[in-house]
């Protein structure tokens, strides 16, 4: 696989949120404001690149049996760094993301890439993979957040203080879209749209909460639906 496709596959072809159905919790929870989506995405991208690089560099040193706890520790360390940086640089974002910032630690995308990619590939490839997957995550979050904010509040906030009025104030916004039910609804519709567009290109995909890149697949007992306990491969 070329270096460029290592990077670019995460953007659309294997988009972690829309194609692999990973990291659903932050996708639903923080996407009430476009800027929150961007901020969450970039924070996760930073953690993903750093953890991918370090795990890839240590891949021959970490014993196979304890690799999951080792990966989690590496990821948690970088998450703590991000937490401190965001708290100082962007207190408003820290407030908005709340508990979902430390919860990047258990984001399936990051552990999934460590397990599926970084632990088997050289450092540069792992960095590119992290960048691609991170930006794919950011893209999906930004799209979801923009749709929800425009429909739910009539505005689009790209940076703190930089807010555009998209729908005139005289029109009542659909407040429900920035509430939890709206999150589930927009996510479902976005996913259906992706399936529809892929279907028109002649490619058929069926999205299920699958374990093809589930971080728990290694010790997987086959508890999820459609899972045979073999890690989906």
């Amino acid at each position: 696989m070329g270096k460029f496709s290592t990077f670019s596959k995460g953007l659309l072809k294997e988009n972690p949120v829309l194609k692999l159905v990973l990291g659903t919790c932050p996708t639903l929870a923080v996407t009430t404001l476009a800027f929150n989506g961007i901020g969450m995405g970039l924070a996760a991208t930073f953690v993903l690149i750093c953890s991918n690089v370090l795990i890839s560099a240590l891949r021959k040193v970490i014993p196979n049996q304890v690799r999951i706890p080792a990966f989690i520790t590496v990821i948690a360390a970088f998450v703590t760094i991000v937490q401190m940086l965001v708290k100082v640089l962007l207190p408003a974002l820290d407030e908005a993301l709340g508990v979902f910032l430390p919860l990047i630690t258990v984001n399936c995308i990051i552990l999934g890439r460590a397990e599926m990619f970084a632990s088997k590939n050289p450092v540069l490839d792992s960095a590119l993979d992290g960048l691609g997957m991170g930006l794919g995550f950011t893209l999906a979050l930004t799209v979801m957040a923009s749709v929800r904010e425009i429909l739910g509040a009539g505005t689009l906030t790209l940076l703190p203080g930089v807010t555009f009025q998209i729908i005139p104030q005289s029109v009542d916004p659909f407040g429900i879209m920035i509430t939890p039910p709206g999150g589930f609804f927009i996510f479902g519709v976005t996913m259906a749209l992706v399936i529809y567009l892929e279907g028109r290109k002649g490619r058929k995909i069926k999205l299920e909460a699958s374990c093809s890149s589930c971080p728990a697949a290694a010790g997987c007992p086959g508890a999820c639906e459609g899972c045979d306990g073999k890690g989906g491969e």
């Binding site: 159905v21 659903t24 919790c25 932050p26 639903l28 929870a29 999951i68 706890p69 989690i72 520790t73 948690a76 360390a77 998450v79 703590t80 937490q83 401190m84 508990v99 430390p102 919860l103 630690t105 258990v106 984001n107 399936c108 552990l111 429900i176 509430t179 939890p180 039910p181 709206g182 999150g183 589930f184 609804f185 996510f187 479902g188 519709v189 996913m191 259906a192 749209l193 399936i195 529809y196 279907g199 069926k206 999205l207 299920e208 909460a209 971080p215 728990a216 010790g219 997987c220 007992p221 086959g222 508890a223 999820c224 639906e225």
Partner: protein
């Protein structure tokens, strides 16, 4: 307000108003992954309740008596995730050795729990609650139990919805996960109606 009433209020608020899955979006992966059959939904939820209460009972004193007094509060994410991972492993080993029947029922769900964001979420949120709402040890444990029971309620309700969905014939692009998410949206909508009820009951 007496302690009993306060604890009851925290518990019911966590179950209905601040439901972890449907309102706070924690633990969506198992909610979508394991809710297809009723018995696996119940098994997973019981394991989650168990680990949530246990994890809170361990992390709360650790934070209050060890991390915070030594100025190490910022290490809570790392410390808590390691404790949860160890705890899950420990519970698995102990159950396997001493209560094999329970291990048979819950064992398969335990490895999935380490990376479940609801567990790390409840331990971290309880730390926030110390300063915001003045929670002590007892309040935190009850809050964790409520979060777990709320998780179970959402899983069990949604398992029923999904059995109906099996027979339904949505438009082609909506088959599978999209229609599941849209139905989750409706279940979540019904939980919004609980907003304010608990406070109204207890504060008259």
């Amino acid at each position: 307000m007496s302690l009993g009433v306060k604890l009851a209020m925290i518990f019911l608020t966590m179950v209905f108003v601040d439901n972890y899955v449907l309102v706070q979006f924690l633990g969506i992966c198992p909610f979508l992954g394991v809710s297809k059959k009723l018995n696996s939904a119940v098994g997973m939820s019981v394991a989650v309740i168990f680990v949530m209460v246990l994890a809170t009972a361990v992390t709360f004193p650790l934070y209050v008596y060890l991390l915070e007094p030594n100025g190490l509060g910022y290490l809570n994410t790392i410390a808590f995730i390691l404790i949860i991972a160890t705890l899950v492993q420990l519970v698995e080993t102990v159950l396997k050795k001493f209560i094999p029947s329970l291990y048979k029922a819950l064992g398969v769900y335990l490895p999935l729990i380490t990376t479940n964001c609801a567990i790390l979420g409840v331990t971290l949120l309880n730390i926030d609650n110390i300063t915001e709402n003045g929670y002590g040890f007892l309040e935190s444990v009850v809050c964790a139990a409520g979060a777990g029971v709320g998780f179970m309620l959402a899983m069990v309700l949604f398992a029923g919805v999904r059995q109906r969905l099996e027979e339904a014939q949505p438009p082609k692009p909506f088959e599978g996960l999209p229609i599941t998410l849209v139905s989750a949206s409706l279940v979540s909508l019904s939980f919004m109606s609980f907003g304010g009820i608990i406070e109204a009951i207890f504060n008259g």
